[in-house]
Amino acid sequence: MTGGVSRSGPLPDGTVDVAVVGGGVVGAAVARELAGREHDGRALSVALVEARPDVGDGTSKANTAILHTGFDATPGTLESRLVRRGYELLGGYAERAGIPVERTGALLVAWTGEELAALPALADKAVKNGYRQCEIVGADEVYGLVPALGPGALGGLTVPGESIICPWTTTLAFATEALARGAGVLLNTRVEGVQRDGGEETVLLTNRGPLRARWVVNAAGLGSDAVDRLFGHERFTVTPRRGELLVFDKMARPLANRIVLPVPSSRGKGVLISPTIYGNVMLGPTAEDLRDRADTSTSEEGFAFLVDKGLALMPELLKEEVTASYAGLRAATEHGDYQVHLDGAERYLVLGGIRSTGLTSSMALAEHAAGLLAEAGLVTSVRDELPEPPRMPNIGEAFPRPYMCDDLIAGDPAYGTVVCFCERVTAGEIRDALASPLPPADIDGLRRRTRAMMGRCQGFFCGAEVGRRLAPVPDSVEESR
């Protein structure tokens, strides 16, 4: 089969070396990694198979967008190791690919005696996780670092390495580079069954017909247990854990220049306040176990809980307008660690139960996956003369954007034509996104590529104009749904 993006019609004929099921941040990272490798002197052919109309359209689009140091992971777990490694890998890759990252640092704030007493153990745990920069600070220093905190903070723990990153650009960069390396990205393609003929090939039965693969990597996130069962396993169950988040107006950003984390305690996991890479401030998440794996609705109870928490944590924040609210589903399982299992005989690898740390660990997981596949017989090496990583359009607030760049506008007036006023997205950026190797399927996809319409007016001024620009390029989403 050949590479490229396919959203409708029959699947390409032929057999791919590896089918990666799930186009979230982990699947995209695995596809990118494997597409850059060769086996017996021949480049691996890779298909990234995603049920939704876009990559990064599930759990990967709705998380807290933190690049974790892994200071609070459970020492000795695979998660701890891969988060630490992924932090380095993704931090470096982000610079090369232009994925916006801000090294804001974090501060855990203790509000009770119990939480204060827990700080030394957390600092020790960080060291066990290989992170040595944490420091316990007193209440004065806490208020010095984050003056807008509400009254009652007793002390804190600094985590200078915690950072914020754009989760949307990360997934898109991986998928775009996978494409550049020759992979196929099969969207609107839901795996519904698996046929094993006992030979070397697996047939994935999808809504768009069969796809033959020599190896299968399951990175299906919320569906990873279901796909695992298709391969005959009963190893883990994903319980979607809904996290609701409130995003406050950009005017709030000076209130929160670093991530404010809760101290895990007997009161349960608290909520965090974080600056976002787009210049807003986020409050959340809630944590609620659900049955419905597609229920990303927000709730009255969730909002009330967050408002209540927010008023105590940072009263000034709640005086600002809410620009967005959303809910993400974390792929929690009954196990305390990632569910990574290799089935050599079946030529099958599952990367399941990847919780909210998956954004950080994605590249390390991909590296780990390549290693595991080699153990099972798919020995690969990195190809020579790979294309350069893509240079992704910057949608981070801390870096120059086209509307600010005189030289860009001089070369192309479209970069000086602001279409989405609140987010200052130009006609040039929207045009570029629509013409990119992995174009958006809908307005949400365009939003994740450009920030168009994600601002405070939510389309009051620009909604019609942005919609008009999107309309001439309808993919075959409707007919294939």
């Binding site: 927000t298 809410v322 000086g416 200052r424 001024f461």
Partner: protein
């Protein structure tokens, strides 16, 4: 590129264009910066009549009114730059601007902010539920239908029953979409009786009062909304494919806040005095940025009002006496202007504007200062939430120019 001008006007809606026309006619170099492709502001996509009554003594449609005001500014000699987005301040009276021709730095001697207001979208109102397509504001709806001739659904629920809500209902009808319900959290519909009676008759829109929308259902497209009767707590589901959030105004105040101007917590507008001067000398604010929102003609008359004061500032006239804070008492959320400066003359149209949160059939206005009642008058128009309540500024004439804050409330 650097540009210099006497006055930079940010926003080319009714108030900004009217200010620009007046300032240019007085011989000043005036530059209007508007981020839209065409000047005119909100009336451009408000395709019904009723515009121009107070400022032009005639009525016309929104688009005709927008064109007329833009032409008047041009004829008076103002420069109007469209697709020109002001992105920040480069100095006390200097602005950074992005245009298709490049970045501009505009150095002015005075700045008039006329950035208007927008409706709070669903997110700012924190209505939970699914997040399907088909949820919009009146502004987006009218943009889609009147400027872009796009389509909407077939069954709409309108949240709010203000003047703008009926405007949304008219637009929906034009687009072939039936309004199956209009909801208001107030005990009675807020809009003018004159509009809602024919509105109900012609548009046959049922209005659910004391009702709030508590949830939106539908994964990809809207399937229904859940509404709650605030009196009984009873909830029911209303099938629809479109939800329009109307009213709930918030000024486009980001540039004002970026300048660090004193802000009014009630309206979230920059605080102005009777001369429409903000807390930064030489920066003025007009229109619905300072009273979110009154009608377009009232906004335009702010633009006319500010001309004399900008001229006085540029001529070096001192601003005069210390200003007295004006405060909104119950049941009002805000009052505009927020400062009364003795010696600066009357406010625009000799009116104090207030935003009520409750309905009152009889308006017994009371003005107090330092615990002393300085005026009381029953006004012959009702107090209705969702629209500005106007009080003659003559009620302030008994205030002590050296006294403390003045409060306007209802007895």
């Amino acid at each position: 590129m650097n540009l210099t001008t006497d006055v930079a006007v940010v926003g080319g809606g009714p108030s900004g264009l009217t200010a620009a026309a007046g300032l240019a006619a007085a011989g000043l170099r005036v530059l209007v910066l508007d981020r839209e492709r065409e000047a005119g502001g909100i009336p451009r996509h408000s395709d019904h009549t009723g515009y121009g009554l107070r400022d032009l003594r005639t009525v016309m449609t929104g688009p005709a009114y927008a064109r007329l005001l833009a032409n008047r500014a041009l004829e008076a000699g103002a420069l109007v730059r469209t697709s020109a987005m002001v992105t920040g301040w480069a100095g006390e009276h200097a602005l950074d601007v992005t245009t298709p021709e490049g970045r501009l730095r505009v150095d002015a001697r005075a700045v008039v902010l006329a950035t208007g207001a927008r409706e709070r979208p669903r997110t700012a109102r924190m209505v939970p539920g699914d997040r399907p397509a088909g949820v919009l504001t009146t502004g987006q709806l009218q943009n889609v239908v009147h400027l872009h001739h796009g389509k909407v659904g077939t069954r709409a629920v309108i949240v709010g029953a203000e003047l703008v809500s009926w405007s949304a209902a008219l637009t929906l009808r034009t687009a072939g979409c039936r309004t199956v319900l209009m909801t208001s959290e107030h005990d009675r519909a807020e809009s003018y009786a004159a509009f809602s009676v024919p509105g109900r008759a012609v548009l046959r829109v049922p209005v659910a009062t004391a009702t709030r929308v508590v949830r939106i259902n539908g994964r990809d497209t809207v399937e229904s909304v859940e509404i709650e009767d605030l009196r009984t707590g009873e909830r029911r589901t209303v099938p629809c494919d479109t939800v329009v959030f109307t009213g709930g105004w918030i000024p486009d105040h980001e540039l004002a806040r970026a300048a660090g101007l004193a802000m009014d917590p009630g309206s979230r507008s920059p605080v102005v005095d009777n001369a429409l001067a903000t807390s930064r000398p030489g920066v003025f604010a007009v229109g619905n940025l300072v009273h979110p929102v009154d009608t377009a003609d009232v906004a335009a008359l702010d633009g006319r009002h500010v001309v004399r004061h900008v001229l006085a500032y540029l001529g070096g006239t001192p601003t005069g006496a210390e200003a007295i804070p004006l405060r909104a008492g119950a049941p009002f959320r805000w009052v505009s202007p927020g400062l009364v400066r003795p010696g600066a003359g009357a406010p625009p149209r000799r009116r104090i504007l207030l935003w009520p949160d409750e309905h009152r059939a009889v308006a017994r206005v009371m003005v107090t200062q330092d615990g002393r009642e300085i005026a009381r008058r029953t006004l012959p128009w009702p107090v209705s939430p969702g629209r500005v309540f106007r009080v003659p500024s003559s009620l302030l004439s008994g205030a002590d120019p050296h006294g403390g804050p003045i409060t306007v409330s209802l007895a």
